[in-house]
């Protein structure tokens, strides 16, 4: 289930730990004074955090992108929670993000386990699975929109195998449209998650697995008690990244459904675009953007806490 850790690397680790003098020398060699970070931090502040803070300010105004503005307090946020359609967008955001998080991680882990070793064609298969990651999401989504079209290949394929009753207008069905969006998101990102898990699996000591096998642990037992705890750092990274990506999904929805039918696939990200760029409600759009940012921060924080707690338990 895992690859061997290179022996030379292990030896290097042993030497480092066993020789504090060498470690101190290396630390001195690589020591970087803290002030060298100042320009980078200043740039990050100037280009990311200050504009973000200024943008957040407009969330409390009625600015239309031009001319003056009025301070409206939290009324933009109240409007979000009073609007049935916007609440639906919030719900869609959470559903898509959670579905995306679970599916990409389950499929990515399964693929990583399957393509980790013992398979001659594993390098080719890894490349094939990873390939969609390098494609532009908007282009991929347009291709999928042709596949899901009423006269598209999916319905044609169903018809050709006698499943005419399964044919439907996929993107015009409020439920199936969400499924279609999720399918495209998962299809394109599973390869990325697989790579993260492959990196994690490379660190699972084979000796532990062999010891587990000798003690009578089966495949599932070795996976649950040895592999999974060992790759928890990879799980933490993969789930955090997929959660964030799922919460801010935009391209796939715009290309596949445009938020439709009748708002059934609108998310916070697409609402931000619509309210700001289409309707010119920059203040309201900023409020939605701030809400999405806070959501990402909170959920990512919760997820990180959950992973950290498990690490402690697993240690």
């Amino acid at each position: 289930m895992s690859a061997l850790t290179p022996v030379s690397e292990k030896e290097d680790v042993v030497v480092t730990v066993a020789n504090p003098v060498a470690r101190a020398a290396r630390e001195r060699r690589h020591a970087v004074p803290g002030w060298w970070a100042v320009p980078g931090v200043a740039l990050a502040l100037a280009l990311i955090y200050v504009p973000t803070a200024l943008g957040s300010f407009y969330a409390f105004t009625d600015w239309k992108g031009i001319g003056g503005w009025h301070w409206v307090g939290i009324s933009n946020f109240k409007a979000v929670f009073d609007d049935k359609e916007l609440l639906g967008s919030l719900k869609n955001t959470v559903i898509l993000a959670l579905g995306f998080l679970v599916l990409t991680n389950v499929l990515g882990l399964l693929l990583a386990l399957a393509l980790n070793r013992n398979l001659k064609t594993r390098y080719l298969l890894r490349t094939l699975v990873f390939m969609p990651v390098v494609l532009a999401p908007i282009a991929v989504s347009y291709v999928w929109s042709f596949i899901f079209a009423f006269n598209g290949p999916l319905n044609q394929a169903l018809g050709s195998v006698g499943l005419d009753s399964w044919q439907k207008d996929w993107l015009a069905d409020p439920t199936w449209a969400k499924v279609c969006v999720l399918v495209v998101m998962v299809w394109q990102n599973t390869g990325f998650v697989m790579v993260i898990y492959l990196a994690g699996l490379a660190g699972v000591p084979i000796e532990l697995e062999e010891a587990g096998a000798l003690d009578g642990a089966g495949r599932w037992g070795r996976f649950w008690h040895i592999v999974l705890p060992t790759i928890r750092p990879a799980t933490g990274i993969a789930t955090t990244l997929m959660l964030i990506q799922g919460l801010r999904v935009f391209d796939q929805i715009m290309a596949l459904t445009g938020g439709g039918p009748a708002g059934a696939t609108q998310t916070l990200a697409t609402e931000i675009y619509q309210q700001t760029i289409v309707f010119g409600k920059y203040g309201f759009g900023a409020a939605l953007a701030l809400l999405l940012s806070v959501m990402i921060l909170v959920l990512s924080g919760v997820q990180q806490l959950a992973t950290r707690e498990r690490n402690k338990t697993g240690a």
């Binding site: 100042v38 006269n151 207008d169 993107l171 445009g258 439709g260 039918p261 009748a262 700001t276 309707f279």
Partner: protein, 426 residues
């Protein structure tokens, strides 16, 4: 050592600032470097097609020696936000395309409210702003934009495709006549109408064209009444009929299969393959398509037939206009250019180039050939303005478009759509 390093760092960090300051001093904020140069921005849908605005700018340069007009075509989907940002930043163009009314980003209402538009009162040709367009071209009682053509919106119809199924339509055809022919056309593998059901602008314009006959033809001041609180979408029999008509068409298989989830590509593919007989769009689209096929395809523009009990009106109005930048450094030249564009000779040229009708046209004669089917409606003044020009925001038109999609997919009832329109109006 630390001090010298800080000094070096300080010098490095100051250099870009100095450079930026010098660059700012040297820039001319996009308004041209001398009094005979102005900038002109407009939106384009097809970057490969020559815009009518580029044609006008070139003609003005030819007839006004020494004048240079720097044109700046901007993609249609980002035009509103781009022009808004430029004007807000103080580097907007001297003259620019503007959406009439207050319903969209970068329209007369929003830019006028921000004080960004030149006052055109008394500076443009008499009659260049029709009476029914004055509200959508004005802010605070002053004319601030001028239309350069009248854009009819109807069914872009392919007589060649219709011949195959024997479908007929003219200005006397009612919607019941159309519905009666839909099944026969569908049986022949075609659809009477193409609809991009997932695209709110397409479902919106289709329904607005029906509403031209059911609402705005018989009651041209309906928007004013709504604004005054004297009526509502929910109370409007005309709007109810318009929505019910679209649903009836859908149920009667008048649209192509899968219309509710279709995008614009379904229209181009369907029309290209002769699987659709027509689709709702501004009339200029007929010329664009015919030009792109180099005359291989002949299209006509037909008015959207009226439902039973209503007379057919052609939706025709002035959604596209030109305005001047109130902060322009070359106001006189900008005003002269706008005034020149508002003259009948230029509006005729612009209308022909855009495949539309000159502003102020009251007779069906002299129109482009594709408008032969609506000539009598124009002569008889059976014309209704674009409804959304007087709507207070873009959300109403979006609610109409998405509401119709919801109607087709069964997510919404007619009452739901009417209620959402009232809510979006505010």
């Amino acid at each position: 050592m630390l001090k010298s390093t800080w000094r070096r760092l300080g010098a490095f960090s100051v250099l870009p600032l100095v450079g930026a300051s010098l660059a700012a001093c040297g820039s001319d904020s996009g308004s041209g470097s001398d009094s005979q140069t102005i900038t002109f921005a407009y939106q384009i849908a097809n970057p490969n097609a020559k815009s009518v605005y580029a044609t006008l700018a070139a003609d003005y340069e030819k007839t006004h020696k020494g004048v240079t007009i720097k044109t700046n075509p901007i993609a249609l989907n980002t035009y509103g936000s781009t022009i808004t940002t430029q004007l807000q930043a103080g580097n907007g163009p001297d003259v620019f395309f503007i959406n009439a009314g207050g319903g969209q980003a970068g329209s007369v209402g929003t830019l006028g409210d921000a004080g960004k538009l030149l006052d055109l009162d008394g500076k443009i040709a008499d009659g260049s702003v029709p009476d029914n367009a004055k509200a959508s071209m004005s802010f605070d009682g002053k004319i601030v934009a001028v239309p350069i053509y009248l854009a009819p919106a109807g069914i872009i119809f392919s007589p060649m495709a219709a011949e195959k199924s024997g479908f007929t339509i003219d200005s006397s055809t009612t919607m019941d006549d159309v519905i009666a022919q839909c099944q026969k056309v569908a049986d022949g593998g075609q659809a009477v109408f193409g609809l991009a059901g997932s695209m709110a602008p397409n479902t919106g314009i289709f329904t607005a064209e029906v509403a031209a006959s059911t609402v705005y033809g018989p009651e041209p001041d309906w928007n004013a009444k709504k604004a005054a609180g004297d009526t509502s979408f929910a109370d409007s029999d005309g709007w109810r009929t318009a929505l019910e008509t679209v649903k009836d068409l859908y149920d009667s298989k008048c649209f192509q299969d899968g219309a509710a989830g279709a995008g614009f590509d379904a229209l181009t593919n369907g029309m290209g393959q002769g699987q659709m007989l027509g689709f709702a769009a501004p009339g200029g689209a007929a010329k664009d398509i015919m030009d792109s096929t180099k005359g291989a395809v002949t299209l006509t523009v037909q008015a959207m037939p009226a439902p039973a009990g209503f007379d057919t009106y052609l939706m025709a109005g002035t959604p596209d206009a030109i305005a001047g930048n109130a902060a322009s450094k070359h106001k006189d030249l900008a005003l002269d250019f706008i005034s020149w564009m508002s003259q009948p000779e230029q509006t005729k040229k612009a209308a022909d180039a855009a495949g539309d009708i000159p502003v102020g046209t009251t007779s069906g004669s002299g129109l482009l050939p594709q408008y032969a089917g609506v000539a009598d409606l124009i002569t008889n003044d059976k014309i209704a303005q674009y409804p959304y020009l007087d709507w207070p925001n873009g959300e109403v038109y979006n609610a109409l478009g998405t509401g119709v999609t919801g109607l087709l997919t069964g997510q919404m009832s007619v009452d739901d759509v009417l209620a959402s329109l009232d809510k979006a109006w505010g």
